[in-house]
């Protein structure tokens, strides 16, 4: 294991976490990501026991999950495995597929509500042009947020992951913080 010390996407040694009224936003620094794309003629694999989901969907397994990112393409997530060579592990599970390491390409912010789905929907209304009511648990999509491209995953009624480009972590955190803070100001 290397003796170099990693930093988070926000440039700190510990993941950020902040509560705004009903919403808590946490930087998920341990999340490993790897993309999986089908090659010509390949049959769709079921890596790590995951049934790869269809368009717009997210499928969770045991500590791993997958979401659809494009025709024949998925992103595979693994909890707390950012330090491992997750792409290599995935490649072994998906022969004949193109696998690319993506853990460090992204930063994941997990938004959790302690008052059910309404605060999550209120947050979404202010940030993304996605119909929050129709974006129920198990939904995943990429969309625009304050001039940035992000993945959204509705991990549960009361939780939403916002995954943005790592270099934009600060800008994305600012947008989430500002909006969640204003919702708190409005008493949401």
């Amino acid at each position: 294991m290397t003796d170099l010390t990693p930093i988070t996407a926000l440039g700190a040694h510990a993941p950020a976490r902040h509560a705004f009224g009903a919403l808590t936003i946490t930087e998920n620094a341990g999340l490993a990501l790897a993309s999986l794309a089908l090659r010509r003629g390949a049959t769709q694999p079921a890596p790590l026991g995951l049934a790869l989901p269809g368009p717009g969907a997210w499928q969770a397994g045991q500590g791993v999950a997958a979401f659809w990112t494009g025709p024949g393409q998925w992103m595979i997530e693994a909890e707390d495995r950012a330090e491992s060579d997750f792409a290599a592990a995935l490649a072994a599970e998906a022969p004949g597929c193109s696998i690319t390491e993506q853990s460090d390409g992204w930063t994941a912010f997990e938004v959790v509500s302690d008052r059910g789905g309404a605060p999550i929907r209120a947050l979404m209304e202010k940030l993304v042009n996605i119909d929050a009511a129709a974006f129920g648990p198990g939904s995943a999509t990429r969309t625009g947020l304050h001039h940035m491209g992000v993945f959204l995953i509705r991990r549960g009624e009361d939780r939403l992951a916002v995954i943005g480009m790592r270099s934009l972590a600060g800008a994305l955190w600012h947008a989430l913080e500002e909006t969640a803070g204003r919702l708190k100001g409005e008493g949401a």
């Binding site: 290397t2 170099l4 930093i7 996407a9 390491e101 992204w106 209304e125 202010k126 042009n129 790592r166």
Partner: protein, 976 residues
């Protein structure tokens, strides 16, 4: 004081406010206009052109006269309609557009000379002498024109944007809107009900008639309570739907905190982008007036507005009023005011058979003049030629109602003339999915509006496959208006059609006389309809006047297209959100925090923020710093974060074939473990982007792009993959952010790297120039190493997972301390690449060819690469300008990018221009300024002296033409 009884104001609380410095009191529920009227204030503003005294004209957002500057300091808000400014404690307002006090505006002198200022006069004069326009005439016109003034300070409030989705958007919360919302929500549809007022009810709040034998406000309250309790309904009060856009997208502005002294922790306003499957336009109607001489006196207003002030706001502009009408609606105002104890001097009805509907004096005739400069004192009545002056402090004018068709015409669907209604109603070609209802489509009686709203909701939902039944509706008045058109009162003198812009009946006649007859010519010649109300109170009347003059019916005379926004919207909310440093997101490199700790100065590079240079104590000028960084790199080893270059991972059996087609040069032939420089052309044959292409495995490449073009290049690669050659087996994904990429450059680069790699042979034989490999560094960290050089030195780029980028740089600095390890920024990077003659953004500016860049031979003719064919066109082949190096003959002379190049002794003109300098810097290696530039026939002019001219800054410099490699032209340093 003219405060009446009743009304929807909270008399238990007093709100103090000031107007032009005087303090008044009002109540919650008041608008500024209603409170001023209740305090006996009729004079509120001045008109645009003649600075005529003006009072409140309407009770809505269409108000053309009572515009004020609201609030003070940085929150000052010019041109605010007093009629919709909700009163709060401490409100400050000031009248605008006058010099001197409101009651004695010096610019009212314009009114005395009004006959010189007839429509279009300024097109005919102010032309001599020519220079006087900018110096004299125009500044004077500008000062006199305009309305309110800006504070010139940044807006201190916060704004938000948001996105809402629904099945049905109901625009307007009056009778039609409420019945539509009730009908739709009970069917389970997702409904948004938006109303610009701060209270639901629309005209129902302004009327005295009953719904199911109870005051209408009771039904409104019930409906509101039901809607508010439903989870599928969202009520947006204080929200104006400003525009209908394509595919059911509506813009709406919610005034979240405009009714408060300050927004506090809230935003002031929110811009909602509403995506609605269907919409019901229940925006009501706007009453029209009837022009007569001096019809703009303060105190003359729309009769419906007068009624609204009495019923809803318990205010009247005067104790004694008169009504001028051409329909039965005017009589309602008389009755309602009389019921409130106001003396009705007379109702003047232009219909000869009109009947009085209560105990008041009815005159069959017309109002033909008015007196009272700062406030109405009386009107002159003409009844069959008999004229009399009638004392009154206010006159309500009822000319019929114009349906509020605006949103229906935002897609250029033209309103159509309904002869029975004598009004324009929404026509075909309106926004898809928008159904008009209620007064907005001419269904003006309360009963008809209720029915129409419910019907529209049923129809809209049926289109969505949702079955709905009309809500049961209360019994309501259903009286016909009995309108007989009277478009203006004929006679001498000026009769205003467009109040704010001072367009009179005479102006329209003059436009007709001068052949400005098409409605758009009429508007543009007279400025009719161009005021803040955008013709809401003027256009139809003007069309009718023009129609009289041309003898053509109104629909043939024309109609006008309404454009968004429905009413004025602050630029703050449209541009809402971040305007400062977060205006656009910034991308930070993996070593940003480290660079900041080193005291780096940063620079914007497209979306990225990069370290420009790293000043050290004692360095007083950036040049010192940059020179040091360059020299240290060339002498020892320099370290630079180059993560910002775009990286695309290319995999698949046909990856090589694919890249062959993407790049101008060949890539399929590249050996595994090697890197090649790659040039991309646009399909039009021009040079587009460059970078490197590394082959990690038979079926796996990693390509890099320039920082600036990373997005477009990726898009183009996907275009090629999906649209041009989908049969190829290729998969693409961007990995720009995943890897921190650090350049390690200089003669000590290898020695430094040897100290961090885990058992990897870096010798020249094992890992030569342009080699690449995956490896481990720093005790087990995955990394990629590329032996490539932008600086011209022995150099590598090492990539590690981004989270380790900072630690890697720290480690390199630590391990390289004895080797002279020095961080360098984009400035030194630029100097070194100019010294080496590498093209960058200034050379690859989209206007240059491979040939100009000296890369013409890279464009392969043996394969069908993008842009190859068009790069061979006559004009591109004939281009003789090529990239050369330029060095001042006198080393003390500056070389600047943007200088133009000329042959010695030539005149400096466009025709003799031989090229330009693309990039320049001070080269510590050469010891002078140097430049790169494109020079005509440059390839054959080595050693020649040319003149670089910069007339912009008064410079002319003699330069020697040299090859574009100022350092190590043979490339020995790269390869050792």
């Amino acid at each position: 004081m003219t405060r009446l009884t009743g009304g929807l104001i909270d008399r238990a609380r007093n709100l103090r406010f000031t107007f032009d410095g005087r303090t008044y009191a009002g109540h919650p529920g008041d608008t500024l206009a209603s409170a001023l009227l209740a305090n006996g204030v009729r004079l509120m503003g001045r008109s645009f052109k003649y600075h005529r005294p003006r009072g409140v004209f309407s009770a809505g957002s269409e108000e053309p006269n009572a515009l004020v500057e609201l609030r003070s300091g940085a929150r000052k808000e010019p041109n605010s309609r007093a009629t919709v400014a909700e009163l709060y404690d401490g409100l400050e307002a000031a009248s605008q557009n006058h010099v001197g006090p409101l009651g004695f505006d010096l610019l009212a002198v314009n009114d005395l000379f009004s006959s010189f200022f007839a429509a279009g006069f300024y097109y005919k004069t102010f032309m001599w002498p020519r220079a006087f326009w900018e110096k004299l005439y125009e500044p004077a016109i500008r000062r006199a024109a305009g309305l309110g003034s800006l504070s010139m300070q940044p807006d201190p409030d916060a704004y938000d944007k948001g996105f809402l989705h629904c099945d049905l958007l109901v625009i307007g919360g009056g009778a039609a809107g409420l019945s539509a919302a009730l009908t739709a929500s009970r069917a389970g549809a997702r409904v948004i009900l938006a109303d610009e007022d701060f209270r639901l009810g629309g005209r129902l709040l302004a009327e005295s008639h009953l719904l199911d034998d109870a005051p209408a406000t009771e039904w409104v309250a019930q409906a509101e309570a039901e809607l508010a309790a439903l989870p599928n309904v969202r009520i947006l009060c204080r929200t104006t739907v400003i525009g209908a856009f394509d595919h059911g997208v509506y813009g709406a502005v919610e005034r979240v905190a405009d009714h408060l002294p300050e927004p506090g922790r809230q935003v002031r306003q929110t811009l909602w982008r509403i995506t609605a499957s269907r919409a019901v336009l229940a925006a009501g109607a706007i009453e029209r007036h009837i022009p007569f001489r001096n019809n703009d006196r303060p105190g003359i207003m729309l009769a419906g507005a007068m009624r609204a002030y009495a019923n809803r706001w318990a205010a009247s502009p005067a104790r004694r009023v008169a009504i001028f009408t051409n329909n039965d609606d005017g009589h309602r105002t008389a009755l309602d005011l009389a019921a409130k104890g106001i003396e009705v001097a007379a109702v003047i009805d232009s219909r000869s058979d009109a009947q009085a509907q209560g105990h008041y004096r009815l005159v069959h005739g017309m109002v033909c003049d008015a007196k009272g400069r700062l406030g109405l004192r009386g009107v002159q009545i003409d009844s069959d030629g008999r004229r009399e002056w009638l004392d009154c402090g206010a006159l309500g004018v009822a000319g019929g109602w114009n349906p509020n068709v605006h949103l229906a015409s935002h897609h250029r669907g033209r309103p159509v003339w309904d002869a029975a209604l004598q009004a324009f109603v929404p026509g075909e070609g309106g926004p898809c999915g928008l159904i008009a209802a209620g007064a907005a489509k001419g269904q003006g009686s309360t009963a008809a509006a209720l029915r129409s709203g419910a019907g529209a909701a049923v129809e809209a939902l049926a289109q969505l496959g949702i079955e709905a039944r009309s809500a049961e509706l209360p019994a309501a008045e259903d009286a016909p208006a009995g309108l007989r058109p009277l478009w203006h009162v004929p006679g001498k003198g000026r009769a205003w059609v467009d109040f704010q812009n001072d367009v009179t009946v005479k102006d329209i006649k003059l436009a007709h006389q001068e052949n400005m007859r098409p409605v758009e010519h009429l508007k543009r010649w007279t400025t009719l309809g161009m005021a803040t109300d955008q013709g809401k109170t003027a256009n139809v009347t003007a069309l009718a006047v023009m129609s009289e003059l041309t003898g053509k019916p109104i629909p043939e005379t024309g109609t006008t297209i309404f454009r968004p926004p429905y009413s004025g919207v602050s630029l703050s909310v449209l541009g809402g959100g971040d305007t400062g440093p977060h205006f656009r997101p910034r991308r930070l490199t993996p070593t940003h925090e480290w660079a900041r700790a080193q005291g780096a100065v940063f620079v914007e590079v497209g979306p990225w923020v990069r370290a420009q240079y790293f000043p050290r104590p004692g360095e007083t000028h950036w040049r010192q710093t940059v020179d040091r960084e360059v020299l240290a790199t060339r002498a020892g080893v320099g370290i630079c974060d180059v993560t910002t270059l775009g990286k695309v991972d290319v995999q698949g059996a046909d990856a090589g074939e694919f890249l062959d087609r993407i790049y101008a040069n060949a890539m399929k032939s590249l050996k595994v473990g090697m890197v090649r420089y790659g040039l991309m052309l646009r399909e039009d044959g021009m040079a587009w982007d460059d970078g490197t292409c590394a082959r990690l495995a038979e079926d796996h490449y990693v390509t890099t792009t320039t920082t600036a073009q990373a997005g477009p290049v990726y898009r183009q690669m996907e275009f090629a993959r999906q649209c041009l050659w989908p049969e190829l087996d290729v998969q693409l994904i961007s990995t720009t952010d995943a890897w921190a990429q650090i350049a390690v450059a200089g003669p000590n680069a290898r020695r430094l790297l040897e100290r961090i790699v885990d058992g990897f042979d870096l010798s020249n034989e094992a890992f030569p120039f342009m080699a690449c490999a995956g490896l481990m560094v720093c005790g087990g960290l995955r990394a990629r190493l590329f032996r490539i050089s932008f600086s011209g030195e022995l150099a590598y780029e090492i990539a590690v997972p981004a989270r380790y980028g900072q630690a890697l740089v720290e480690r390199l600095m630590e391990k390289g301390a004895d080797l002279g390890a020095t961080p360098y920024g984009t400035e030194a990077l630029g100097v070194m690449r100019i010294e080496k003659g590498h093209a960058a953004g200034n050379e690859l500016n989209g206007q240059t060819t491979a040939q100009m860049l000296g890369l013409g031979r890279m464009v392969s003719s043996k394969k069908d690469g993008i842009g190859a064919v068009m790069s061979r066109r006559e004009g591109l082949a004939a281009e003789t300008r090529v990239l050369v190096g330029l060095q001042p003959v006198d080393p003390a002379q500056p070389v600047l990018a943007g200088m133009h190049l000329f042959a010695e002794g030539a005149e400096h003109r466009t025709e003799t221009d031989q090229g330009w300098i693309t990039s320049a810097c001070h080269s510590p290696h050469v010891g002078s300024s140097i430049g790169l530039g494109f020079l005509a026939d440059g390839g054959t002019r080595m050693g020649e002296t040319v003149i670089a001219a910069n007339p912009l800054q008064g410079q002319k410099v003699a330069l020697r033409v040299v090859p574009p490699h100022f350092i190590d032209p043979e490339g020995g340093r790269l390869r050792d």
